[in-house]
């Protein structure tokens, strides 16, 4: 044998790497080179900046939420409003940049995977804007719970493919997108939607989202004169969390808190709390914490939020966790829904169910830190897409989701709901 191969780039400690078919390696190398050049190219950066300002609506604002904060131990709570971005979530930051890169690489088609639909809608949007063909893979289970987003993508001109095999959720959509990419890599770029996958995706997607933390850090300093005590974000794949965490990693006094999906509780198997139960493994091209059985087969996961229903997590999160720089908790479906309702009723903001997990985490962190604390929460998306799920959860519609609200249900969901989040509950450490 000749000299030993040099290990792949893109490691965060033992995590990350490139565990993919050989056919994709040249495309990953091409992408890595293209994005490194682009990040040093004023023309690319100016074009992206203009899109952020004139299309996405950046900088996104911050909003202090005192009525909500009263339920979080009285700490000051500030939301970074990524929900106000065009298409309703942080996802557009990454997608605009990757679609610009697609054009620079001379490719004409993009594909994407989506769970909750936020990334799929963002990709379909950017593809329409830039004249790219677009195919979005989505687990069949998710197409059913996010039917409105499926319609949205189709209206934007994307083809939406419902993936029926496996658990028919996000991980299977990623498998299918990778299959498409292996087959069509010559003219197609895979717009991976989160900070996982083979190098350079975890690093690249983080860099396209780090604008969240850069803006938020300055905005909080301008508003309060100091850094927050804690930055809280939900973690599925982990892109919104890496986006807001990144600028604070060097600020040692700032706690970084990621909140995973505790689903129906971590005692059983209906959850996606990777850091609470999982061990390192390889899925979708990267080494990271992975929910797997004793043989290495991927376990099925559950969350009320399609966007958090994923068995692995971005490798940089695994690194931050193992080095102790970030801490990870989980919120159950019930805790997330209570936080969802609380923000709606106290502040007039309907959050995405993903972001509701971060809000549930903030409630607990606030109760731990007390009234002198300052907590920054990444409100990564808006809840319009989740209305069907929320309406069913709170009994505002019949189970088929078609019926008009019953008066009893409306009354039950009335003002007294705020007290429903008062009990200790909170998020498990």
């Amino acid at each position: 044998m000749s000299t030993p191969p040099t290990p792949s780039p893109g490691r965060f400690g033992q995590f990350g790497g490139r565990y993919v078919p050989e056919a994709l390696i040249p495309a990953l190398e091409e992408l890595d080179e293209a994005r490194q050049k682009a990040m040093l190219d004023p023309e690319f950066l100016d074009e992206l900046d203009a899109l952020h300002r004139t299309y996405t609506g950046r900088p996104s604002i911050i909003t202090e939420v005192p009525r909500f904060a009263a339920h979080a131990g009285g700490a000051r709570v500030i939301l970074k409003r990524e929900d106000l971005n065009h298409t309703g979530s942080h996802k557009i930051n990454n997608v605009l940049a990757q679609c610009l890169l697609t054009k620079r690489m001379g490719k004409r088609r993009v594909i994407a995977e989506t769970g909750a639909g936020q990334h799929g809608v963002a990709t379909a949007t950017a593809a329409a804007l830039m004249g790219l063909e677009c195919t979005v893979y989505m687990g069949k289970v998710d197409t059913e719970r996010q039917a409105l987003n499926v319609a949205r993508m189709r209206i934007l001109g994307a083809e939406v493919v419902a993936v029926e095999h496996g658990s028919a959720t996000l991980k299977d959509a990623i498998n299918e997108a990778l299959r498409d990419w292996v087959t069509n890599v010559g003219h197609t770029h895979y717009v991976l939607g989160t900070v996982t996958g083979p190098h350079p995706f975890p690093e690249m997607v983080r860099d396209f989202h780090k604008i969240i933390g850069e803006e938020a850090r300055q905005q909080v300093l301008d508003l309060t004169g100091r850094l927050p005590d804690a930055v809280v974000a939900c973690v599925g794949g982990g892109s919104n969390a890496m986006g807001i965490f990144h600028r604070f990693v060097e600020d040692e006094g700032v706690r970084l808190v990621g909140v995973e999906a505790g689903g129906e509780g971590i005692e059983g198997d209906r959850h996606a709390a990777r850091f609470a139960t999982a061990e390192p493994g390889v899925l979708h091209g990267a080494m990271s914490y992975l929910m797997q059985d004793d043989e290495g087969q991927t376990l099925e996961t559950h969350s009320i939020s399609a966007g958090l229903d994923y068995p692995s997590v971005g490798p940089e999160h695994s690194f931050l966790r193992d080095t102790g720089r970030a801490e990870y908790r989980y919120a159950t479906d019930e805790q997330a829904m209570e936080a969802f309702r609380l923000l709606c009723r106290t502040e007039g903001i309907i959050p995405a169910l993903e972001s509701s997990h971060a809000l549930a985490g903030a409630i607990e962190v606030g109760r731990e830190l007390g009234p002198d604390a300052l907590i920054l929460v990444n409100l990564s998306g808006r809840g319009d897409k989740d209305m069907h799920t929320a309406a069913r959860w709170f009994g505002l519609v019949e189970d088929d989701g078609q019926s008009t609200p019953t008066s009893a249900a409306v009354e039950t969901g009335g003002a007294e709901c705020v007290s429903a989040v008062e009990p200790e509950g909170g998020v498990q450490a």
């Binding site: 191969p5 040099t6 993919v20 078919p21 050989e22 095999h165 797997q292 290495g296 991927t298």
Partner: protein, 269 residues
């Protein structure tokens, strides 16, 4: 290492006969574990030169519909990694070298050194790793060297000259050339990319080069045998076992194997 364990000896013998080798893939556990072992023995009895034992995996991103369906059924039927070693022992008992094809996390989870030792103890010739490239494979390179196992890495039409050098440098046994960009599954034409890839690969290595992905007929086998050292067939063999009558499926499998074995002999160089 015992020389008889590896696939090199078989490929050299085929080369001496002036023909390509026939390599057949079947997943263990499909349609059930005992039947899958019978199916692999059927390959051995009907002219196969090397058997690939596929280990079903929950996320087989390199596989097309036929193999994925089989893998799903096998997993639902409770197939375990230990069954791979039962299969390799059964194939070795037939005098045919067995290579395991496994997605990497299943090896990682068991422990790379332990997996290699178990595979060697069960008569395995080595491992094909569809989602492991040499840069990530140092543990496997060390463990396979320690146990005298072959390690088959893949090259693809997209592989650059630099990549071909890296991959062939780390490979032992044979180089697996993916005939087309894409996943497993029978295709009507294998296309020109495969011949070009084999030629480009040979610029970097003297190792045998076997071609897979998309091969399903005697004619395709004969065509590939004119330029490759081996012809790898998977989905077309697996599809034979979709017959609800296991014995009928095995008969179809035997017939197709004989056809393909004739095909690699028709492509004599």
């Amino acid at each position: 290492m015992t020389q008889s364990r590896g696939v090199g000896e078989v490929l050299a013998a085929c080369r001496a006969e002036g023909r390509a080798a026939l390599v057949g893939y079947l997943p263990v556990g499909y349609p059930d574990v005992p039947s899958s072992l019978r199916a692999m023995e059927t390959l051995c009895d009907n002219g196969i030169d090397i058997v690939e034992v596929g280990m079903p995996y929950s996320d087989p991103l390199m596989d097309g519909a036929v193999i994925q369906r089989a893998a799903t059924q096998a997993l639902e039927g409770g197939v375990r990694v230990d069954d791979v070693f039962r299969a390799t022992a059964a194939i070795r008992a037939k005098g045919v070298p067995p290579l395991v094809m496994s997605y990497w996390n299943l090896v990682l989870r068991r422990g790379v050194a332990r997996y290699a030792a178990d595979l060697a103890a069960a008569g395995g010739a080595g491992l094909i790793t569809p989602d492991l490239v040499p840069e990530e494979a140092q543990d496997w390179i060390d463990a396979s060297a320690a146990e005298g196992l072959d390690r088959v890495f893949l090259v693809a039409p997209s592989s650059t000259s630099e990549r071909l050098a890296v991959v062939t440098g780390a490979t032992r046994g044979f180089v697996y050339a993916a005939s087309t960009m894409g996943v497993t599954g029978a295709r009507t034409s294998v296309g020109d990319a495969a011949a070009d890839l084999v030629a480009r690969t040979r610029e970097h290595t003297d190792l045998p080069v076997c071609v897979g992905l998309g091969v399903s007929t005697r004619e395709q086998a004969a065509e590939i045998a004119t330029y490759a050292d081996g012809v790898i067939v998977g989905s077309a063999l697996v599809a034979c076992l979709e017959d609800p009558d296991v014995d009928a499926g095995l008969e179809r499998l035997a017939a197709l194997t004989r056809e393909l074995a004739a095909g690699v002999r028709e492509g004599r160089r």
